[in-house]
């Protein structure tokens, strides 16, 4: 510690500090402790130290699950970016009043129960559902298409649930951007495409990275989308943890899996801080 940097805590931090210590740190300690204990005979834990819960993750089955979850998360992030960035970019070009309306419309579905909204997708996609009925009525297909219960349906559900996070992050970043810089590069002879690649994209990078983190992190943990849309045929880490905590009754392993997820998440955020050069987690929103 350097002497000049005098330690000072603003008084307003204390309630936040105490709350975090009591209701976040304490449960966390509990989870960490459990992850190093042995499973009880019926459930719960017995007070005996072990590393087995972490070693167990080396099993190839879990490796396959992690890889699949990673694949789903990366794909979801990529698609939300490809859909969300242009959306955010175009919204920024709208007149101010329309802009806030569009953002409000985008946010509104957030207040409706997410399961209700997924139910809407089920009605759309199922074999006697809306899309198939229209296709059959138009004579485009004879047999109903199997749109539900496959990998594609899981991705659709994920993208749908998480796209708003990506859009909002990109939007915040693009809106703050100084358009004069883009104009300058155009004046210097850059084509619109080149100006976008060399100026707009790098300038809005913090928002993009923030959006990617905000989509990536929950997409690893969401469990009900793969259950409902994928016919439970895709096991993601969220599903795995839930099974371990309930039917498999192995709390320690569930806790260990969560710890691993947490470490990976913190790692991603650390990389984000390095890449974006920001020391503020705040840009995540």
């Amino acid at each position: 510690m350097q002497k000049e940097k005098k330690s000072r805590i603003s008084l307003t931090v204390w309630p936040f500090y105490i709350w975090t210590a009591l209701f976040v740190a304490l449960p966390m300690v509990y989870v960490v402790v459990i992850s190093f204990l042995q499973r009880g005979a019926t459930w719960g834990v017995t007070a005996q130290f072990t590393l087995d819960n972490y070693l167990k993750m080396i099993d190839p089955m879990y490796g396959a699950i992690f890889l699949e979850a990673l694949y789903v998360a990366v794909l979801t992030t990529l698609i939300t970016f490809l859909v969300g960035y242009p959306f955010a970019y175009y919204v920024c070009k709208l007149p101010a009043r329309l802009r806030s309306l569009v953002i409000l419309l985008l946010m509104a579905p957030f207040w409706i129960n997410s399961l209700c909204r997924l139910n809407g997708w089920m009605i759309l996609l199922k074999s006697n559902g809306v899309i198939n009925s229209i296709l059959q009525a138009l004579g485009i297909v004879d047999e109903p298409l199997k749109l539900l219960y496959n990998f594609g349906a899981v991705i659709v559900g994920m993208v749908y649930a998480l796209a708003p996070f990506m859009i909002l992050s990109c939007y915040n970043s693009i809106e703050k951007m100084d358009w004069a810089v883009v104009e300058a590069s155009r004046d210097l002879g850059a084509s619109p495409f080149k100006a976008f690649l060399t100026v707009t994209l790098p300038l809005t990078m913090p928002g993009i990275v923030a959006g990617c983190v905000l989509v990536f992190v929950p997409s690893v943990g969401l469990f009900f989308i793969s259950d409902l849309m994928g016919g439970a045929k895709t096991v993601l880490i969220g599903n795995l943890i839930r099974t371990e905590m309930t039917t498999a009754r192995n709390w320690p392993f569930g806790a260990a899996l969560s710890m691993m997820m947490l470490v990976v998440t913190i790692g991603i955020i650390w990389v984000y801080k390095k890449v974006s050069g920001s020391n503020s987690l705040g840009d995540l929103m």
Binding site: A41, T42, W43, M61, S127, D227, G231, K233, V235
Partner: protein, 354 residues
Amino acid sequence: MRRTFTKIGLIALALVMTLSLFTGCQPAEDAKELVIFTWEGYVPDDIIAEFEEEYGVTVTYNYFTNPDEALQRLASVDGGEYDIVINSDYTLDIARNEGLMMELDKSKIPNYENLNPVYMSQFYDPENKYTVPYVPGTPLIIYDPSRVDVDITGYADLWDESLKDSIVLLDYDRVIVGLFLKMLGYSINETDPEALAQVEQKLLELKPNVRALNMDTPYETMLSGEATVGLMFGSQVAWVYNEHPDFKVVYPKEGMGFGIDCVFIPSNAPHADVAHEFLNFICDPEISARISMDENVMAINCNLKAEPYLSEEYLNNPALFIPDEVLGEKEFIQDIGAEYAEQYAEIWNRFKQA
């Protein structure tokens, strides 16, 4: 600075005070009350309303979706808070061993004698001290003969190549792994590694035929035409059959599994007297018949005197009336301990992942 704090402090104080108002306004202690903890719709609304009226009780209904989660929740309050719990049989075994059940005072349940002994004295309560059977059931196969070319008579037919991508299975390792163990000639609760390896191999071979796995609403997968064959709980089969009497219900020839969801009173139930009244109420033949026929329950009736109150449609539903000689020796899913429960779960994960 100080002013900021006084203001924030005042806001916080106001919040806490209104908060205590809300948490404080609980009904007076002497009011008759009953807290039920089970799946949504498992005790029909009209039954509850009638009980409230007749006994002057206010019923509070608490929901769960997962039997294991419910069990853990019950353990966290040490068998208190709830007065009536209805849960799956294997969780009952754990609940009893953990001391979470209250011994029933049968003198307060005159209707207890109406219960069909066929559904009693099971592994989770061999001396019938703690539980009242509520919904018995056996997993069955149902299929749409107009879209399925094979004649399905047992589990083994599910592996037929023509059924590619068309089966919906319960998303429940204990039931499906157990039934396929039975198909291979083992016990439903087999823990022999050789047998488990065998059943896992079979499951992996079945995967291409599986359209979806669904624990709670497999019947919707059938009704929407998404799957043409289903292996699910009897009451779920009964729903499908009700909508589509042309579908075929199969009693698998390799033998059937069996399960009973039971009612019990937790060991520290706050309103045990009312809970006994409730048990007596649901053991009444007419009430029992109405519960069995309710569209959200739809299950085998376990009351000896209920038959006169059961409808024609109910009696003709093959998923609800299974001749005893077909059912044969009922084998229950029992608790196999956490270690094997996990092995089953691992098999199931590998099956899903395949």
